[in-house]
């Protein structure tokens, strides 16, 4: 019988229920699911455990992995090939090409995608915006202007949590918004030195500095959900955060379009954060191999895609899943994804480990967060950015 030991970091209520669906389906198909959840640090703890498991010669069968980390593990020679399932299920046809690319190692399939989170969302408190006559901004200039207005009205314009990954999240949306998709690709995906050192980048940092002016002074260390609560409670007007923030709004009984609004961050493009499962090489243990295949098949199958993403707030990775049951924000997200996939503005989020491997991504974050939390000049930040990236290569 197919068996699978699944290492993942989806542990909180909503997430856990979502995975439980998969577990149910797996069991229905006669599989034995061993759960190995490890939360913490956005998967860091799970990665730590994974390394120990691999080194001790006992890797889990399937592991929640994403972005270039998949290829990194592949290079260590520990991933299994699931091309036969992928081909059988015609993944190539139903997945956006960019996203499919993340699932492949050396041309063959080695991971199965679960969902797409959009990172570059900006959330707004509907009432505040209406009261102050502000529409969702579409450019950073608009945003700045609106923010000034709010500030004058005594409202914190931007709710933000001063954690490195949140700083990076804002940063990448600014890079995308001010530099455009092409610049984003060059700077944060290809790590092009010229782009990193360009005037655009200086402007980006300038904007970061401006944004900090819109954040209340108690932001450092704040959890993202507390920032969300600020928007909910009318203490702040906006928050820039991935679509998981929607879960907080919904959990508090807020309605999209009524109590809060969702929109893409100023500028054009779609930053995605795709969760996926990589299959580890389990040798010739037939049960485990069967488990991997079954798991891969179920993950990408429409029924799981639908239920899972309904639970989690993200959107299905398949383009052929009906969105009838999804809310407006999700529909918007899906629409944008399909559109942006065509013009090359569907881009991996660097802040969430989709664009870069750990080392350069971390190096960039170090600079971003250092800049955001000090009085460093933009020029200095750009210089440090170049150094750090060079150092991390």
């Amino acid at each position: 019988e197919p068996t699978a030991e699944v290492l993942h970091w989806w542990t909180s209520g909503g997430e856990a229920k979502s995975v439980a669906v998969l577990q149910e389906q797996f069991k229905e198909r006669g599989g034995v699911w061993t759960d190995m959840p490890v939360a913490g640090g956005g998967g860091d703890a799970a990665m730590t455990a994974l390394r120990a498991r691999v080194l001790s010669g006992n890797p889990p069968t399937a592991v929640q992995l994403k972005g270039p980390a998949i290829q990194e593990w592949y290079e260590e020679g520990v991933l299994a090939d699931i091309s036969d399932v992928a081909e059988e299920q015609h993944w190539g046809d139903v997945l956006p090409a960019q996203i499919a690319e993340h699932m492949k190692c050396d041309g063959h399939w080695c991971a199965a995608p679960v969902n797409v989170h959009r990172v570059n969302w900006i959330w707004g408190n509907k009432k505040i915006l209406d009261d102050n006559g502000i529409a969702m901004p579409t450019t950073w200039e608009e945003f700045n202007a609106a923010a000034e207005k709010l500030k004058a009205a005594g409202i914190t314009p931007l709710a933000h949590g001063g954690q490195a990954w949140q700083d990076a999240t804002v940063f990448e949306t600014v890079v995308l918004g001010m530099g455009g998709p092409e610049f984003y690709q060059k700077a944060l995906v290809d790590l092009d030195m010229d782009a990193l050192g360009s005037d655009t980048m200086i402007k980006v940092f300038d904007e970061m500095r401006v944004l900090r002016g819109f954040v209340d002074e108690n932001y450092p260390g704040r959890d993202w959900n507390l920032a969300t609560a600020m928007v909910m409670n009318g203490e702040a007007a906006f928050q820039i955060m991935g679509d998981w923030a929607k879960g907080e709004f919904l959990a508090a009984g807020k309605k999209p379009g009524v109590d809060f609004t969702c929109a893409a961050t100023p500028g054009h493009g779609f930053l995605y954060n795709v969760d996926s499962f990589a299959m580890f090489d389990v040798g010739d243990d037939a049960d485990k191999v069967a488990g991997q295949k079954l798991l891969a098949e179920l993950i990408v199958a429409p029924s799981f895609q639908e239920t899972f993403n309904l639970n989690k707030g993200s959107i299905p990775v398949r383009t052929d899943v009906s969105l009838d049951k999804f809310d407006d924000c999700a529909k918007l997200s899906s629409k944008d994804m399909n559109a942006d996939a065509k013009d090359g503005s569907l881009l991996p989020s660097y802040a969430h480990g989709m664009a870069l491997r750990g080392e350069p991504a971390g190096a960039i974050t170090d600079v971003v967060t250092a800049h955001f939390n000090s009085d460093m000049t933009s020029e200095e930040a750009v210089k440090q950015l170049q150094d750090a990236v060079a150092n991390a290569m």
């Binding site: 913490g40 640090g41 860091d44 703890a45 990665m47 730590t48 390394r51 691999v54 080194l55 980390a69 990194e72 593990w73 260590e76 001063g162 954690q163 490195a164 209340d216 002074e217 108690n218 932001y219 450092p220 260390g221 704040r222 959890d223 491997r357 750990g358 080392e359 991504a361 971390g362 170090d366 967060t369 250092a370 800049h371 955001f372 939390n373 000090s374 440090q384 150094d387 750090a388 150092n391 991390a392």
Partner: protein
């Protein structure tokens, strides 16, 4: 014959520990040293590459911050915990009727996972929710307590929470030490007209010198390994203002998949520890020999 055996007993007793330490400490340090010379990424690789990792390490501003923080945090944390722990132990040693309850209160922070207490501290220290807001609410509008969000002061909040968490244990350690001092000697001092505080400073505490060594080692260990504390309280922030070598190392090894870098930072950290601890150990063990 049995005599010979007997002379070997102490060594035989120590042997397992010794072997374990050789393998699991010094073997692993050797392994780390090796890895620090390689280009290991997410997993160890064993091809020697040279001292590149060290060069990179020293070029990283974040590492500088981390090391400086370690000195500052370590120094304050150890000294304050020691002083506070000793003080509380002495207080508790005054035939306090509710000793059991108070002792447990002082100790409990050790029992709680910092992942969660960190959140509580974060709220307490947060100017918007915590003490500052509370005191301002009492009418002291000018009151400021914003260390947590001030990059220059945030490290002191780590000290605060660290002391909160560990001083209770140090107290317990000292309490055990205090309780082992012969009561007759204290009586003699009392009759000699020595005031209580002098009895502690001049007679009891000197005879607890070995316990200080224990406390020092435990606290240094905690200082160096403070990881949860930072992660939970400040996440290393604002920026990376409160980064410590342990968080740096963890970030390198596990978040960023740069084992070589992590290994080199571990080696540097151990070298520093060695430089600080060895002289102390030397003097301490020497003195105890006669």
């Amino acid at each position: 014959m049995s005599n010979l055996l007997e002379r070997w007993v102490p060594k035989v007793v120590l042997a397992p520990t010794f072997v374990a330490v050789l393998i699991f400490v010094y073997g692993f340090i050797g392994w780390t040293a090796w890895i620090s010379l390689t280009k290991s990424k997410i997993m160890p690789r064993y091809e020697i590459d040279g001292f590149d990792q060290y060069t990179k390490l020293f070029a990283t501003p974040r590492w500088d911050t981390a090391m400086n923080n370690l000195y500052l945090f370590g120094g304050l944390f150890i000294v304050i915990s020691m002083v506070l722990g000793l003080m509380l132990a002495i207080f508790l040693d005054q035939k306090i009727r509710t000793e059991g309850v108070i002792r447990t209160i002082y100790l409990y922070p050790m029992a709680l996972s910092m992942i969660v207490t960190g959140t509580a501290w974060k709220w307490i220290l947060n100017p918007q929710h915590g003490i500052e807001a509370m005191v301002q609410g009492w009418g002291f509008a000018g009151f400021r307590f914003d260390w947590l969000v001030n990059p220059d002061m945030a490290i002191y909040t780590i000290v605060l929470a660290g002391v909160w968490q560990s001083s209770g244990f140090v107290m317990a350690l000292f309490l055990a030490g205090l309780r082992s001092v012969d009561g007759e000697i204290i009586k003699a001092a009392q009759v000699d007209g020595i005031p209580n505080w002098r009895i502690y400073t001049a007679i009891i505490i000197p005879s607890m010198a070995p316990i200080f060594l224990s406390a020092f080692i435990v606290l240094s260990h905690l200082a160096i390994k403070s990881f949860d504390l930072v992660v939970a309280l400040t996440g290393g922030g604002p920026g990376y203002a409160t980064d410590l070598p342990a968080t740096y190392m963890y970030a390198m090894a596990f978040s960023r998949g740069n084992l070589g870098q992590a290994a080199s930072s571990a080696m540097i950290m151990m070298a520093v520890v060695f430089a600080i601890v060895v002289p102390y150990l030397y003097s301490e063990l020497r003195a105890k020999h006669d």
